[in-house]
Symmetry: C2
Subunit: 282 residues, 2 copies
C-alpha cells in the first residue's frame, strides 16, 4: 500500500461501529463490545418506537433493518453489528448482500460456540417466536455439528418480565419453570440465551436448569467475533485517533429519556445524551 | 333539506365506520359495535407492525394515529372510533381538531360510566403505562364527579399474558394479585378495564377483586356512545344500502395471517381476508 492508502485505512479504523437493536436489549451487546474492545467507538440505535420485533414478520423486520442501516451509514460507521437476535435471524442474510461494509449478527457466533461446547449433541435455544420460527439457530448449529439435536422454545413473557424489573421474582421463576421444563426433560447440556434481554435473567435460568447446563450468551461471543473480523480487515481502532463529541453515541426512535434510564442501569457508565430520530424517514 | 341533500345524507349513512387500534385488542371494541349496531359496516385497522403503544411517547402515538387516520379516510369512513385506550389518552385531543368527520375514543365513555356508577367515589383504573401517566382518566372522571378519588395502576404484563393465552393461569392470577392489591386495599367500588385486552381477563380480575366491585368495560360504553352520536347526526345505517365486497374489512401493518387467527378467536364469526398495508407511507 502507498502512504496515502495507509492513511486512508488508518482513518477508516477510527470510524465508529454501528450497533442496532429493536430497543434497549442490544445494550447488553454494546456492553460486551465496550468491555472487549475498549478503544472502539459505538453508534447505537434502538428502535424504541417499533419495539418489540420478536413477534413480527420477516418482511417487516427486513424493512425496519434497511431503514436503520441507512441511518447508521449517515454516521459513517466502519462496520455494523445486528445486536437483535430476531433481526439477525430474519433480516441479516437479505441485507448483507446490499452492503459495502462488514456486518455481523449475534446469531451465528452464539450458534457456533454452542456447537463447540455441547458434549451430548443436545442444544436448547430460547428466543422470540420469530427467531424460533426461522429455524436459523438449528441450521447454523447443524452446519457446525450435523448430528446436533436442537430444541427451540419461544419465551414471549421473558422480555416484559425483565422490563417490569422482576428478574428474580417468584413469578418469573414459575414462568421460567414452565418454559424450560421441556428443555430440561430432553436432557440438553447447552442452552443458548437467544434474545438480548435473556442474559439479564441468567441467574433465574441457571436456578431452573441447574449447574450442569452450559449457558451460551451470544453477546459475549459476538464481541469476540467482531474483534477477529476487525483485526483481519485491519480495522481495529488503536485509540489514538482524534474525534469530536462523545466516544459513544446513542439514538432512539422514541422516548429518549426512558431509554437513558434503562441504559444507565445496564452500561458500566452513565450516558449523558440520547438523540431522538424519525427512523421511518430513512 | 332538498331531495338532493337528503340523498347525500342517506348515501353518507351507508359509509363504513373506521376503527383502529395498536393491534388485535381493538377487536373487542369492534365486536361490541357489531353487537350493538348490527347494520353498520366497519373498516378495522390494527397497527401490528408497531404494536404495542402502551409504553411509547405521546409524540410517537400522535404521529402513528395521524398516519392511520389518513389511511382510514381513503376508505371514505363516515366516523372514526379510536379503539385503543393509549391512543385515546395521548392522541385524540390533538387529532380531533384536524378532522372533518366525528371521532370518538374509548376513554371518555368508560370514564363517564365509572363516575355514574361509583357509590363511594373511589374508582380504580388499570391501563398501560402511557395511559396512566397521561392522567386523562382522572381528569375526565373528575369533570363528571369532582370529589372522585381515582387510583391508576399500570399493568404491563397483562397484554403479554393474554397474548400467551394464559387468561386464567395461576401465573396470571398471581400477577393480577400483585397489581390489584393496592387498589383492593384502597376500597375502590368501581374498576375501569382501561386497555382493550383487559376484558379478556375479566374473570381473573373478578376473582381477585371480589364480587362487590363494579367492572367497567369501555368497549361496551363506547358502542353505546357511538350509537347516540350517529343517531344525533342522522348517520345511522338502516342496513338497506347497496355495497360491494365484505360487510367488514380488516387491515393490518404486519403479519396478516396471525392477526386473522386471533381475530377469529375474538369475533363472533370467522373473517376471510385481511389485507396488509405499509402504514408508514400514509
Amino acid at each position: 500500500m502507498s502512504n496515502k492508502q495507509l492513511d486512508e485505512a488508518k482513518a477508516l479504523s477510527y470510524a465508529p461501529i454501528g450497533v442496532f437493536d429493536s430497543g434497549v436489549g442490544g445494550l447488553t451487546v454494546a456492553r460486551e463490545i465496550m468491555r472487549q474492545l475498549p478503544d472502539e467507538r459505538i453508534v447505537y440505535f434502538g428502535d424504541t418506537a417499533r419495539v418489540p420485533y420478536g413477534s413480527k414478520s420477516k418482511e417487516t423486520i427486513i424493512r425496519f433493518s434497511r431503514q436503520i442501516i441507512r441511518f447508521l451509514k449517515t454516521k459513517n460507521v466502519k462496520a455494523i453489528v445486528v445486536a437483535c437476535n430476531t433481526a439477525s435471524a430474519l433480516a441479516l442474510e437479505e441485507i448483507q448482500s446490499e452492503l459495502d461494509i462488514p456486518i455481523i449478527g449475534v446469531l451465528k457466533p452464539g450458534a457456533k460456540v454452542a456447537a463447540e461446547t455441547t458434549e451430548n449433541g443436545k442444544i436448547g435455544v430460547i428466543a422470540t417466536e420469530s427467531t424460533i420460527a426461522s429455524q436459523l439457530y438449528t441450521k447454523v448449529i447443524q452446519s457446525h455439528l450435523p448430528q446436533a439435536q436442537v430444541l427451540g422454545k419461544p419465551c414471549p413473557l421473558f422480555v416484559p418480565l425483565v422490563e417490569e424489573g422482576w428478574m428474580k421474582d417468584p413469578v418469573t421463576v414459575e414462568v421460567a419453570n414452565r418454559y424450560l421444563e421441556p428443555l430440561k426433560e430432553s436432557g440438553i447440556d447447552t442452552l443458548i440465551l437467544g434474545c438480548t434481554h435473556y442474559p439479564l435473567l441468567r441467574s433465574t435460568v441457571r436456578q431452573v436448569m441447574g449447574e450442569e447446563v452450559n449457558l451460551v450468551n451470544p453477546a459475549y461471543e459476538t464481541a469476540i467475533e467482531l474483534k477477529g473480523l476487525l483485526d483481519d480487515m485491519d480495522l481495529l481502532n488503536d485509540g489514538k485517533g482524534q474525534f469530536e463529541g462523545p466516544v459513544h453515541q446513542f439514538y432512539v426512535s422514541d422516548a429518549a429519556e426512558k431509554f437513558k434510564s434503562f441504559a444507565n442501569s445496564i452500561l458500566p457508565y452513565g450516558i449523558d445524551t440520547t438523540q431522538l430520530i424519525h427512523i421511518e424517514e430513512y
